[in-house]
Symmetry: C2
Subunit: 332 residues, 2 copies
DNA sequence: AACCTTTGCTCAAACGTTTGATGTTGAAAA
DNA sequence: TTTTCAACATCAAACGTTTGAGCAAAGGTT
């Protein structure tokens, strides 16, 4: 089946191409009956306007790109879902790109976006990214840019995350509140500002409640394997520890494993709490109490912010925060 | 920064627009030094061809769409990852759409794809979808279409899944092999052919080993909550059951919960096995033995199949299968 | 010297749409 | 009867690129 164009409709209706165009756009210059006829023919021909031609005219692509380090993680699928909804709601297209956590790839993708004339980009930077020049270039080319979740600040690109430090504090304070005196916090890749903020929140909660921060209060791990090894060792040696805090889902499941492996019971022998998107905590048994960091909410907020920028609103290149909530399940 | 066009380069170099176009495309008609100069100027102006203009010419969009019921599930993120890689490798764009498991939305999205001139569509149909006319229309418009994971057959649209019945059999046979005589299989939404096939595999394994299929051998549930309720009841009443098989990750985590809730120990009191993408089994403790259904592998295979179609290869509208492997962890 | 080839480029049309300017009616107002 | 003005429609240019056809000049062959 060949695709029909305005020309085809024009031929069949005896109108001119521009007449048809206006009729389909409900332009007041066109007589109602004419419009009706045009619409009928258009329908019969299964007409769809060619978006390339339209965008060529209007100089925009009606496209938003999302760049994530990987989708195969706890938080990102939800994030993508939230973004996708808002974007479709605005009648835009979503193109989805993965940087595989590599800076070089991230730069390529940005070039790609520039070529594609994307109107906006939502990006969670790779772990390797340390400067934002590529994003600035994108901005200069007229695209709206918003950073999400993992962010770097340079004062000109708005970014949106949860209040990491507050989330961390909330979780830690809850443990203390429940009577725990000696606990360990497990943290991820220290290259990310997210990690530093979450460590800060953890420490601040301890200080606030006059609990000494010892050498083994904070465990920084490189990859998942590390958690099991280091935590097992720590819990074995230091039996006074009664609670574990993990900064992410990835670490949570590892800690869960380690604890079970040692034959410890949650929450009787040891309490476990995490910052989480809320999925893993439900899967595990017992349900893990967590500070909920909803990917969907962040996605919606980020996309909404982006469309504000697109509509011409001036948005400062600063932090825009999303709320977190404590979800009490059965692990503390 | 304004975006530069061929015209701008033409003005600066004194060449004609077509000359510039050919120079940038390394056309033999253009003198080497001229090409060099054009490239320099293009670089200086930060020139990128306008893809809308290009696609308007070439009548294609270099775009593949993926339509999934939801991404927020175990299998789909991995699937998306696999697809995304192949698509980018071919220099195509990926647009990502969600049907929210609604047939009406799915039809809208297909219309959308038609409008967008997408070259190909990878789709996992919604639970509500019972006919494929919308996909046929898409095919007629010249797009390549491949179904993934959840599929419906009509003989003209190729589809790609694991061999569901074989996977189910593999898991069940493993249980039997390990000495289990009385087991229950838990299955999902019976509207999907996937479910029927997996039930069939389960039953076939039992028959093959002369194990009677009783009324309570098969548990069909509507949603997650159901699993916990029904399974608890069943295990409570029927203590001769020594193993549970679940057809998906979603059911697996529910069953895991129910079993733990009852105070039963895996694998000592009861064995648990599942068809799974391999993530949840690692999170849980002990690790759950499963038949691995890799989203990434399926994604790669599906996208590869799609590009074969795009390159003109004739692909029958039938099943194309992907291998599954049994991963032995500690739950049986 | 007349002819052919090659080299290196330009012209112009085409892709499908949008839109400001312009043209043609017919009917109402002067 | 002439003017005026809606109402409805057409014309033509423009968006940025690609591409077949055409053309001038330089060099090579008889």
């Amino acid at each position: 089946m060949k695709r029909s164009t305005l020309k085809d409709i024009a031929k069949l209706t005896g109108l001119s191409i521009s007449g048809v165009s206006r009729a389909l756009k409900d332009h007041p210059d066109i007589a109602p009956e004419t419009k009706e006829k045009v619409r009928e023919v258009a329908n019969a021909l299964n007409y769809h306007p060619n978006p390339n031609a339209q965008h060529l005219q209007s100089k925009q692509s009606k496209t938003i790109a999302v760049i994530l380090p990987e989708v195969n993680t706890f938080f990102f699928p939800e994030l993508l879902q939230g973004i996708s909804n808002v974007v479709e709601q605005h009648g835009y297209f979503l193109i989805f790109l993965q940087s595989d956590n590599r800076f070089s790839r991230e730069k390529e993708l940005i070039e790609y976006c520039i070529q594609m004339f994307v109107d906006g980009v939502l990006i969670s930077v790779s772990a390797e990214t340390t400067n934002l020049e590529h994003l600035l270039k994108l901005q200069e080319m007229g695209a709206a840019v918003v950073q999400i979740d993992r962010v770097l600040s340079n004062g000109t690109i708005p970014f949106l995350t949860i209040n990491d430090s507050a989330a961390s504090m909330k979780a830690t304070a809850y443990l203390i509140d429940k009577g725990h005196k000696k606990m360990v916090g497990i943290f991820d890749d220290a290259r990310l500002s997210m990690t530093l903020l979450r460590i800060e929140g953890f420490e601040r909660a301890l200080q606030l409640h006059q609990i000494a921060i010892e050498e083994d209060s904070i465990l920084i791990v490189q990859d998942g394997e590390d958690v099991e090894f280091k935590l097992s060792k720590l819990l074995d040696e230091n039996t006074s520890i009664t609670a574990v805090f993990t900064m992410s889902d990835k670490l949570l499941v590892r800690a869960y494993h380690a604890i079970n492996q040692l034959g410890l019971k949650i929450p009787d022998d040891i309490a476990l709490i995490s910052i989480s998107d809320g999925k893993a905590p439900q899967y595990l048994f017992p349900g893990i109490t967590h500070v909920r960091h909803s990917g969907e909410v962040v996605g919606i907020a980020a996309a909404t912010l982006l469309f504000k920028i697109l509509s011409g609103e001036k948005i400062p290149g600063q932090l825009h925060e999303v709320e977190t909530t404590l979800v009490e399940l059965d692990s503390v």
